[in-house]
Symmetry: C2
Subunit: 381 residues, 2 copies
């Protein structure tokens, strides 16, 4: 079920890095890292070579995940771990990465072969596996905790590039339990919108805190799986979402720029909604609530993290906002906090039926529906 690609010695002529795979900043055509190390010289990233110490797990290596993996490998990441249970088909050829010679291979095998030939310095571990099954979920959990670059240490981040709700929920549960920051990503079945979202357990809303917002790109797995129904896809949209995903992952891990908590892409109008979602104190995921408590405690004990930009005024949570929900639309920076409770333009909820309150506890309206309503509907599914 699992295999590792041995990368040693495949390209012995490769220069620009010593035997340890360290990065050279020499400005010569023979150095594969010269353009990356230039990020240091230009003051963009202070410690670019830190990337050689990082390990990222990618779940789902289809149109988004495969390109994200290639970007990370070309950036010189220390190690990537790939999970996927699918195989390469002709119908995948309209997206980047896989080539006709890969057809019939499992995606992890094809990706492993391609990625190791692109950059033999990267350790690539592949698992032909559906992580939503009971036994494989345990394996996945254990992998998150122990398969980092140094054996026995956790991975540094997870990128979710899956196409269904169950897999997203599995990743969410695992990352809450193991306290690992992850990015969710998605592309709509009409191929012209997509999004990425960063989930820092305890700090931002998890996938179980407010799921209707997470699947705002309109992915409807049930319709995709219906016989004879085929989701559209474009290499453009998927390439852009892959780029947003890895760019923000790099910003978070290498501590440069400002990471977007949520970044959407509406291809038809070139519109890019952004927002920030605070966690739900009544989240159904117990590990999420534990992480929230830890985060609050940590915040009280420590001064703000200097590595990240100070929170903008827009992200301040109101005292009367019991749910801690804060939506910050980049396109309306001057709006008052009161107005921010409606969703930014271009972000839609998955559920659009009338609200059916099922809990008389404190409620805060998110647009027309309460978070309670949405959770009830979700449970009913």
């Amino acid at each position: 079920m699992s295999s590792s690609v041995n990368l040693d010695g495949e390209k012995t002529l490769r220069s620009g890095n010593d035997n340890n795979g360290d990065m050279s900043d020499e400005v010569v055509h023979s150095n594969p890292y010269s353009r990356l190390m230039a990020l240091k010289r230009m003051g963009i990233v202070n410690n670019y070579e830190k990337i050689r110490k990082l390990c990222i797990t990618i779940v789902g290596i289809g149109g988004v995940g495969s390109v994200a993996a290639e970007m990370l490998v070309r950036c010189g990441i220390g190690k990537i771990i790939l999970f996927d249970y699918d195989q390469v088909e002709w119908s995948n050829m309209n997206r980047l990465f896989y080539q006709p010679r890969h057809i019939g291979l499992s995606k992890v095998e094809a990706a492993g072969l391609t990625l190791s030939s692109i950059n033999p310095d990267v350790i690539i571990e592949t698992h032909h596996m559906d992580i939503t099954k009971v036994e494989t979920y345990e394996f996945f959990l254990d992998s998150l905790e122990t398969s980092g670059l140094t054996f026995g240490h956790p991975v540094d981040m997870v990128l979710s590039c899956v196409d269904n709700f169950e897999a997203r929920m599995a990743i969410n549960s695992a990352c809450n339990e193991k306290n690992i920051t992850w990015f969710e990503s998605g592309v709509a079945e009409n191929a012209v919108s997509g999004h990425i979202q960063m989930i820092v357990p305890g700090k931002t809303a998890c996938f179980a805190c407010a799921p209707p917002l997470m699947v705002s790109a309109g992915i409807d797995e049930k319709s995709i799986k219906k016989e004879g129904v085929c989701a559209a896809s474009l290499p453009t949209t998927m390439g852009i979402i892959s780029g947003f995903l890895v760019q923000n992952a790099l910003k978070k891990l290498l501590q440069f720029g400002k990471v977007s908590d949520y970044l959407g892409y509406m291809a038809l109008t070139d519109f890019f909604p952004t927002m920030t979602l605070k966690p739900n104190p009544f989240c159904q995921d117990n590990y999420c609530k534990i992480r929230q408590d830890e985060y609050k405690l940590n915040e009280k004990q420590q001064p703000p993290d200097n590595c990240e930009p100070a929170p903008s005024e827009d992200s301040v949570v109101h005292d009367d906002n019991t749910w801690g929900i804060t939506l910050v639309s980049e396109s309306e920076p001057e709006k008052s906090h009161e107005q921010d409770l409606s969703l930014p333009t271009g972000i839609n909820r998955e559920f659009t039926v009338d609200s059916l309150p099922c809990n008389e506890d404190e409620e805060v309206s998110v647009g027309e529906e309460t978070l309670e309503d949405l959770q009830c509907k979700m449970k009913a599914l």
Copy 2:
């Protein structure tokens, strides 16, 4: 100097298209076009198979152009023509597309081999050529006019993915002369910003109308070429710009969505400035002025083109705006037109020295400098 890649028969098992390379919309795993033809079923693109009749020329197949070419080939474009004079180096490996096995090959040869194996239905013509030389420029001009999908017909669009001013000016002159719509693209040497810009001769500003705005991404060829100085690059930023470029090219050619005249990307903040630039009636490029006259005449004689969305209120040109310059910032949709004459946030001018008026003719201020000033400075370079 020039070569054509013969694509026939490389993948005889490829299905989903008949002997003419027509697109099937059959929903089966063996159909490479099923996910693209789904765009029709979902009402996104009315006539997707039109792409099989299109020919696009790409000049510069480095980090942006090679990925743009791959996207078009995977989308099933009829024909692409590639111009580049560079060869593949180890220092290119931090960007998508080229692989270590290509090192030492010319970029056009490596790209031709890879692209033809990805989609043998696409006609790929390659030219190992610097189009800025006198004799090669003539060849390029002739190619634009006669190398379309049907011999003797013009190509449908040009994508500029070059990294220097001279090549952009050559493409600009040629496209003005041959009246061909083109997209300019660029990524800054610090790797964290980029842009695309559509130039429709006579309708929008050409590269000679307002060059300081076109190179706003901060590319400084002189510093790049200095010995020992190396521009930074990231596969993320370049992949995103490639995606924006091809997505907007597809929107223009297949008539769906709203094409962005200018779309910027600021990676550090995930900010995406947009604007529209009207042509300069005093442009130094004579063919630009001819196209402007033709466009005005055509506009008077014909009702507005129904295939494109009606211009928004923001793009209305003021009567007192002699230069016809309109800047529309997507991020400030409610602003009055008076305010729009300053550049949208995130777009900078190449020239930042004090203004030195050199012409007492009509002037309209674009932020702190006049267009006349900028033209004078450009001439002085």
